[in-house]
Amino acid sequence: MEEIKTFSNKPIPDDIMKTAEKVLGEDKVLFAVVGDLNLDGKYDSSAFIVTKTQAIAIDSKHEGGYKQFAFKDIEKVIVKRMYGNAIIRIKTAEKTETVLRFTYVNADIADAAAIFINNIIDGLDFDEQLLIVKSTYDKQRSFCPKCGRKLASPDAECYNCKGKGKVISKLMKYLLPEKGKLILCIILSIVVTGLSLVPPKITQVMVDDIIPNKDSSGLIKIILFLLGVYVVQYLVSFIRTYFLRIAGDKIIIDLKKDIYAKAQYLPLSYYDKTSTGSVINRVNSDSVILQNFIMRISQEGITQGFLLVGIAVIMLIMNWKLTLLSLLPVPLVVLGGRMFGKKIGPRYRRLWIRSSHISTLLADTIPGVRVIKSFTNEDSIIGKFKAYCDDWFKEDKKASVIASVFPNVMTFLITCGSVIIWLVGGKWIIDPNNNEISIGLLVSFISYTSMFYAPVSFFANISDSYQNALASAEKIFDIIDAEPEHDFAKGSELERMDGKIEFKNVNFAFDRSKKVVDNVSFTINPGDIVGIVGTTGSGKSTLINLLMRFYDDYEGEILIDDVNIKDIDMKYYRNQIGYVQQEPLMFKDTVFNNIAYGTPNAHVEQVIYAADVANAHGFISRLPDSYDTYLGERGIGLSGGEKQRLSIARAVMKNPSILIFDEATAAVDSETEELIQQAIERLIRGRTTLMIAHRLSTLRKANRILVVDKGRIIENGSHDELMALKGKYYKLIQIQSMSQKIREQKESENFE
């Protein structure tokens, strides 16, 4: 027999292993859930160890340190998720007791362990069940060896380690395409900088030679030369500004395009946790802050560097002693700059968080203005907005104190450098025995000193914009570097999709606090029309979300035509599914383009045909602009039923193998429902169809019904079978027919 390898979420601590060996003897450990809490809820080591015939729970709080259960004595193993922690409870004939406590970190494998034991007790195949446990462990143990982050699949490349680097190196991607223009700008900057070094030298010549010698012709020549220098300097400056702006705009556009494109490929789970306002803030504001920083670094940084070196060389040539004196404040300026960066960095981050609160509120409330008005909630929302703005302002004031004090202290230190030169240089000139420098040289040197401190000040204060940009860059790269939806099988398409759907032991939770899909298994054959019913929040739509691959992080397998959906090209796969939602989203575009949304280059007659099938052609042709009617944001201008029929037309255009209707008629009146039903019935012929419905009357064409309750399939069969079962479906039908009768009775009374 093949040696079975023990699975464990982390190494089993020695003391626990010793206890297990002592209790189990020769019984081989199959897998272990190593917990992180004791039964009193303190952080501690514990474990739930499973063998072929028994399970033991090891915890210091158990009497004797462990509890042992033979499978034959267990009625059920239950994983109970609480708040921030969970427990494994074992039900035997005598009692139900809590045997292990752990944080949500271990929740998935604890679930797998419970399902394993329950299924073995129910007599399911041992090897198959162990395989399911193994896949859960594999997923848990799929960590990148380099960074330790969880991988999407055991063999997947770590997205986080791929192409990562420091912010600056990441930004190079945006700088490189503009390198031609940027290099030209740098050359032009050097020219401008070089030319700016000329005037102080001319001052020296004028003070020392031309003015004392009253040389008029020399004066004209030198003034003309100075004028020429200025003309060239500003002409070059103009060309540089133009190219710099073009390059800067291109960088910001590329950055925005990348953020937007990436945002489209992020999984839904990202949007579950990140507000749309914050994403919009990143595209609009943060990209501008980052662009400013890129330009500052790539342009000013280089030119200021040249200026610094150039002036230092000139000053050293003029007088090395004065140069050294002027450098005295430099260490203080540099140290101050570093200190400033440390102080201001966290402040900018806090400021960003507050600015994100404001944009999130905007993104939330402006589109919801109808609701706000209808609940006359304007004052409250204005109050909230004011509070957010005030909070931002309060933080901004704190940041402003630091941002104002530090640069001025720096400037003061720099000025001290000039004062030292005036003092020492002035003394040398007054002293008749000292011929160290001339008056012209001193004046010229003072000019160079003040010029010298401009780049010093620039580099001292760069940390301000660096910290500000860093806060923005962090947010931008949070999107750009975020793990996108995984298309594990790009290019792998099925020859034909018949539409067989199979869920195998599927478990899913949006977060670990509550399971939304609980060990779901079912098979739908090609061409089946399947109704999914259940109360609100039972998990119906989540099953569809998983089938659509909106969420990939589930346990178990979903197969289409016996192929795991993760092994099919995602774009191709989603294209095979027509999805009609309860509240279809229309875009700000024409009716024609809204129908042809997923079908580029659609023929006009194709669109008209689709509209006709969807019972939409009639009302569209009655619109003044017909198919050219321009819809407002989110389809404003159409009724709910009309939007729904356009959305069905969209599905017709795709000619899909699988159709999904998610409460497609829930929000419309009976007459419109009839029109939509007709459209649906025309569309579903020969296609595997899943219909989620509250109104059970809409499932009249379904040949199978799945009843979902608390994330589980509790009933599965035809209408007649489920009615005979007299279970949940039967009850739902009873309730609905009763309320239907009452409604009809009331309607007839009113009519009479």
Binding site: K42, Y83, N85, K273, D478, D511
Partner: protein, 162 residues
């Protein structure tokens, strides 16, 4: 129909750690194996406790724990303490970042623990009363009741995130 329990009319006893039994004085009504859930686990710890039966259906709501008889209050409190695990962070030991994921090692009222914070912008919330709530990468919760009561180093570590 909502059924509110004011306090003295019920006797609560712990059934099995997170479960309680409720016995109503002056009537024969006794409900067993109820699971208490806070309706406001963040904003109101002691008010509006929903009691759920084994099917997850609510049977009653306790308006305020403080109005219960002392033994009942202690029983309910013990069941809630078992159910809700929000360790209170008392000190930051280590915090480091790698590829946008922060690893925090902290000292809590339940011991020392290391966890990951995936996105500090969404994982950390400052409440109106100054409490800071943290949700780790596995959806476990932690709380800092008053940041400014922590040591200076811990405050400095936390400040940029709030």
């Amino acid at each position: 129909m909502l059924k509110y329990i004011e306090g003295p009319e019920v006797k609560l006893t712990v059934n099995d750690k997170i479960f309680i039994d409720a016995e109503f004085y002056g009537s024969d009504e006794k409900l067993c194996g109820l699971e208490p859930h806070r309706l406001f686990p963040i904003s109101g710890l002691n008010k509006y406790i929903s009691l759920l039966d084994s099917e997850g259906n609510e049977v009653a709501i306790i308006r305020n724990i403080d109005n219960l008889l002392p033994e009942s209050k202690a029983a309910l409190q013990s069941a809630l303490d078992e159910y809700y695990m929000i360790p209170k962070i008392t000190k930051f030991i280590k915090r480091y970042e790698k590829f946008s994921i922060w690893m925090w090692t902290v000292e809590t009222d339940r011991g020392v623990y290391t966890f990951e914070v995936r996105n500090s912008l969404t994982a950390i919330k400052t409440l109106y009363d100054g409490r800071i709530l943290i949700k780790d990468g596995s959806d476990n919760r932690y709380e800092i009741p008053d940041l400014y009561k922590l040591d200076k180093r811990s405050i400095k570590m936390m400040l940029p995130d709030i």
